[in-house]
C-alpha cells in the first residue's frame, strides 16, 4: 500500500513579493511533490501573524522578489512577525528558498538607490547596495555537482562576508554583484539566489534536492526510498530540453 506523505509550505507575501513569476517555485514544488505521491499544502502568509497556520509547522518557506517600493513595504512586518519564526526554522533545519528581493531581506541590510537602509534578518552575512544599472540576463551557476540556471534582473549588488557560504560560482552572467563570481548564499537549509525563471522548474534536480531534505527531516525517509516505495517513474523530458533551449547558456549545460 502506498504511504501518504504530507509537507507544508509557506509562501511569504505572495501578492507583493512576486515580480518575475517567482510564484512558479511553490507551484512547481507542489507539482513535483505530487508526482512522488507527496501532498504539499501551501499556505500564503502575508502581513502580521497568520491565523490559519502555525508557522512553526512549515517544512519549507518561499519568498520571491519585489520592486523597491514593495520591499520597503514589507520589511518592518518581516522583522516584527517573521524573523523569529524563520530563525527557529533555520535552527531546526527547515528549508527556505528566497529569490532576489527576498534573498536581500535575509542578508544584513539593503541600501536603496536613495541611500535608505532596509534592515534584513542576517540569515546570510552580507549586505546589498542598489545601483541604477541593472544586471539582466540568463545566468548559469556551478553549485557542487550541478549547474543551476535562471534569469537574473536586479539593481542590487550583494557582497557576502568572508565566512558566508555562497550558493555557487557564476559560469555565465553576473550573480551576487557582477564582480567576484559568487552567486546566492546558503546557511543551513536556507538558500538565497538572484535566479528567477522560475528557479525550480528550471532546476528540477535542485527541486528534488529540497524535497529530499524535507522528507528526511519530517519522515526520516529519503526521496529515493519514496520513489521505490511508491513505484514512481518520472519523465523529465520537458525539463531537460527546456534548459538546453537557453541559447546563451548552451556551452555550460
Amino acid at each position: 500500500m502506498k504511504k501518504i506523505f504530507e509537507l507544508i509550505a509557506i509562501d511569504l507575501y505572495p501578492e507583493i513579493m512576486n515580480i518575475y513569476g517567482d510564484r512558479g517555485n511553490p507551484f512547481y514544488f507542489k507539482y513535483r511533490c505530487s508526482l512522488y505521491g507527496i501532498n504539499l499544502r501551501v499556505f500564503d502568509v502575508s502581513f502580521e501573524a497568520e491565523k490559519r497556520i502555525d508557522m512553526d509547522r512549515a517544512d519549507i518557506f518561499f519568498i520571491g522578489g519585489g520592486q523597491d517600493a514593495e520591499q520597503a513595504l514589507i520589511y518592518e512586518d518581516f522583522i516584527k512577525y517573521k524573523k523569529s519564526v524563520l530563525m527557529k526554522a533555520l535552527e531546526n533545519d527547515k528549508i527556505m528558498l528566497a529569490i532576489c528581493g527576498g534573498y536581500q531581506l535575509l542578508c544584513d541590510y539593503y541600501k536603496s538607490l536613495d541611500n535608505k537602509i532596509i534592515k534584513g534578518i542576517s540569515v546570510f552575512r552580507g549586505y546589498t547596495e542598489s545601483k541604477t544599472l541593472r544586471l539582466i540576463g540568463n545566468i548559469a551557476v556551478k553549485a557542487e555537482n550541478t549547474v543551476l540556471v535562471g534569469f537574473e534582473n536586479h539593481g542590487g549588488r550583494t557582497y557576502l562576508e568572508r565566512e558566508q557560504k555562497a550558493l555557487g560560482t557564476v559560469l555565465k552572467g553576473y550573480g551576487n554583484n557582477g564582480k567576484n563570481g559568487t552567486e546566492g548564499a546558503v546557511t543551513g537549509n536556507f538558500f538565497g539566489t538572484y535566479m528567477h525563471g522560475s528557479f525550480l522548474p528550471k532546476n528540477y534536480i535542485f527541486c528534488d534536492y529540497l524535497i529530499n531534505i524535507a522528507l528526511k527531516k519530517k519522515y526520516n525517509v529519503s526521496l529515493e526510498e519514496i520513489i521505490k516505495i511508491n513505484g514512481i517513474e518520472i519523465d523529465n523530458d520537458f525539463e531537460m530540453k527546456a534548459r538546453k533551449d537557453i541559447a546563451d547558456l548552451k556551452r555550460f549545460l
Binding site: E15, Y20, Y28, Q67, F151, G155, F238, A242, D245
Partner: protein, 485 residues
C-alpha cells in the same frame, strides 16, 4: 512653411528605401528607412518635429502596456471615417524610428505645381501615435502631444524596462513638462495608470466600467486586473489580498494610508443591450456632442470581443468625443473595425476559423485566455491552441512571466496544444504544472509545420464552428504573418 532642401532629400530617400524594402525584399519597411536616415542626419527627428509643430495639427499619443495598437487604430479609423486625413503608426512600430517613419511617410506631392517645385505637403489633419511606454518621454518631448491616452500599466518585458513604477514615474514627469492644456484620457479601473492624473491640473477624462457591465455577464471574477500592489501615490499597501489583484476588476479601490482612491469614470460602459454595449456619460451631451438634450448615450455592437477590448473602445471613444466626433460616425466605424494582424485577428481557411492574438505579458495572455474560453464567444467544448513562444529581444528575453498567468483556471477548457518557437519546453512545463495532461502537448520547433498541425487539428473538430487559436509572442507573430497572409 517651405521645406528645406535637406528635408526634401530625406523624404525622397525615405520613400526610395521604403519602396525597395516593400518591392524588392518584400518587407514592411516601417523602421529600417528611418534608421538609415538617422545614420545620415542625426538631427533628422528634431527637424521634422519642428515642421510638425509649425503645422499646428492635433497630436494624439496612445501609450500603456496593452491595447495601444487597437486603441490607436480605433481612433485613426474613425477620424478617417469623419473625413480626416490621419497620420498613424498603425502597425505597432512604436519606437522612435517607427513613429518618425509614419510622420515622414505622410508627406506627399499632391499637385503638378508641387511636383514641379518639388515641394511636399504634409497630408494629415491628425497625428495619432502609438508610443512605447519607455520611449514616451522622448517622443513626448519632441512632438508635444495635445492628447495623451493611457491604456493601462501592467508588467511587461521587465528585462528591458526594469520596474514598472519607474516607467510610470518617467511618463508622468514627461507629461508635467508639456503645456498644462494637454488632455489626459485615463482609465478609472487601473490604479497605476489612473495615478498619472493624480496631483496635476491638466484637463482629463476618465473612462471605465459600471458594475452592471460585469453583473449582466453573471460572472464575479472579471477582467480588469492590475499589477499595482502598492499605492502609486504614497507607496503603502493598496491591496493585501491575493485574490483582489488576481481576479477582481478594480471598480473600487482605496488606499487606507493616504486616501488615493478610484475616481468615478466620466465616460463608461454601463451594461449590455442584447449584443450591444452601452456607453454613457453623466455629463451633459453639450460637453461632448454639442447637443443640449441630456446625457451622452451610445450603444453599438462591438466588432471585437474580450473585456480588455471594451476598455480600448472606451479609450478611443473618449478621445473622439474630445474632438466632438458625432455618434453616427463613431458607431459604424466601431462596429466595422478591422483589427491589425495579431490583435483579435480572425482568418478563415475553408470553414476553419483561425484566431490570432499577440501575447507578450501575463495580463495580456490571461485576458486572451479568458476571452477565448468565454462561452459567449466560443461554443467548443475544448480549445485547441498553438503557442508560438520565443525569447528574442523584442519578445522579452525573460520567459518567467508565463508563471504569472493563471493557466490553472483554464485547464478544464484546454484541448490539444502545439508549442513552437525558441522556448517551447518552458511553456510545456508551465502547462504541465498547471495540470494539462502531457499527452495533449506536442512540440514542433518548425513554425510552418506547427501551423499545418494546428490547422489539421482544427479541421478534425466535430463542430460546425471549427476554430483554433494561435497565441504568439511578437517575433513569432511577424513570421506567422508571412505564412498566414
Amino acid at each position: 512653411m517651405i521645406l528645406r532642401l535637406k528635408i526634401k532629400a530625406e523624404i525622397i530617400l525615405y520613400f526610395f528605401l521604403k519602396y525597395i524594402l516593400n518591392n524588392v525584399f518584400n518587407r514592411e519597411g516601417d523602421v529600417l528607412p528611418v534608421h538609415i536616415l538617422k545614420k545620415i542626419d542625426k538631427d533628422t527627428f528634431d527637424n521634422f518635429a519642428s515642421y510638425i509643430h509649425s503645422y499646428g495639427i492635433p497630436i494624439i499619443f496612445v501609450t500603456g502596456t496593452n491595447g495601444k495598437t487597437t486603441t490607436a487604430n480605433l481612433i485613426a479609423d474613425t477620424l478617417r471615417a469623419a473625413g480626416k486625413n490621419v497620420c498613424v503608426n498603425s502597425n505597432g512600430a512604436n519606437m522612435s524610428n517607427g513613429v518618425f517613419g509614419a510622420i515622414i511617410g505622410s508627406y506627399g506631392l499632391s499637385t503638378i505645381d508641387r511636383l514641379l517645385g518639388l515641394d511636399f505637403q504634409f497630408n494629415a489633419d491628425f497625428i495619432v501615435i502609438e508610443a512605447d511606454e519607455k520611449v514616451f518621454p522622448y517622443l513626448s518631448s519632441k512632438l508635444m502631444p495635445n492628447v495623451v491616452v493611457i491604456t493601462n500599466f501592467y508588467r511587461d518585458q521587465l528585462d528591458r524596462y526594469g520596474e514598472i513604477n519607474t516607467t510610470v514615474f518617467e511618463i508622468k514627469r514627461a507629461i508635467k513638462n508639456l503645456s498644462g492644456d494637454t488632455m489626459l484620457i485615463l482609465p478609472s479601473f487601473e490604479p497605476l495608470a489612473m495615478s498619472v492624473g493624480y496631483g496635476i491640473n491638466n484637463p482629463r477624462i476618465y473612462y471605465g466600467f459600471k458594475r452592471e457591465f460585469f453583473k449582466e455577464k453573471q460572472c464575479q471574477e472579471r477582467a480588469v486586473s492590475s499589477d499595482a500592489l502598492t499605492c502609486p501615490y504614497c507607496k503603502k499597501v493598496l491591496f493585501n489580498r491575493k485574490d483582489v489583484n488576481q481576479n477582481v476588476f478594480l471598480l473600487k479601490f482605496k488606499c487606507e494610508n493616504c486616501g488615493f482612491t478610484n475616481i468615478e469614470p466620466d465616460i463608461y460602459i454601463s451594461g449590455y443591450k442584447g449584443e450591444k454595449i452601452i456607453i454613457k456619460s453623466n455629463k451633459i451631451g453639450a460637453e461632448y456632442d454639442g447637443k443640449t438634450d441630456g446625457a451622452l448615450y451610445s450603444d453599438f455592437k462591438p466588432a471585437l470581443s474580450g473585456d480588455y477590448n471594451m476598455a480600448n473602445y472606451l479609450a478611443a471613444y473618449s478621445v473622439l468625443k474630445n474632438y466632438k466626433i458625432k455618434n453616427d460616425i463613431i458607431i459604424p466605424s466601431f462596429e466595422n473595425f478591422q483589427t491589425k494582424f495579431g490583435r483579435s485577428f480572425k482568418k478563415y481557411v475553408g470553414d476553419l476559423e483561425i484566431n490570432i492574438d499577440l501575447v507578450k505579458n501575463p495580463t495580456g495572455l490571461s485576458r486572451v485566455l479568458e476571452k477565448i474560453t468565454d462561452v459567449y464567444n466560443n461554443d467548443l467544448p475544448f480549445i485547441d491552441i498553438l503557442f508560438a513562444f520565443s525569447d528574442r529581444d523584442a519578445d522579452g528575453r525573460d520567459v518567467s512571466w508565463i508563471w504569472d498567468v493563471e493557466f490553472e483556471k483554464y485547464v478544464k477548457d484546454i484541448g490539444k496544444i502545439i508549442i513552437t518557437g525558441l522556448r517551447p519546453f518552458d511553456m510545456a512545463i508551465r502547462l504541465k504544472t498547471a495540470g494539462v495532461d502531457k499527452s495533449l502537448i506536442s512540440i514542433e520547433h518548425n513554425l510552418k509545420k506547427s501551423l499545418k498541425k494546428i490547422i489539421k487539428i482544427g479541421r478534425s473538430q466535430v463542430s460546425s464552428n471549427k476554430k483554433v487559436f494561435i497565441l504568439s509572442t511578437y517575433t513569432e507573430l511577424l513570421r506567422i504573418k508571412k505564412y498566414i497572409m
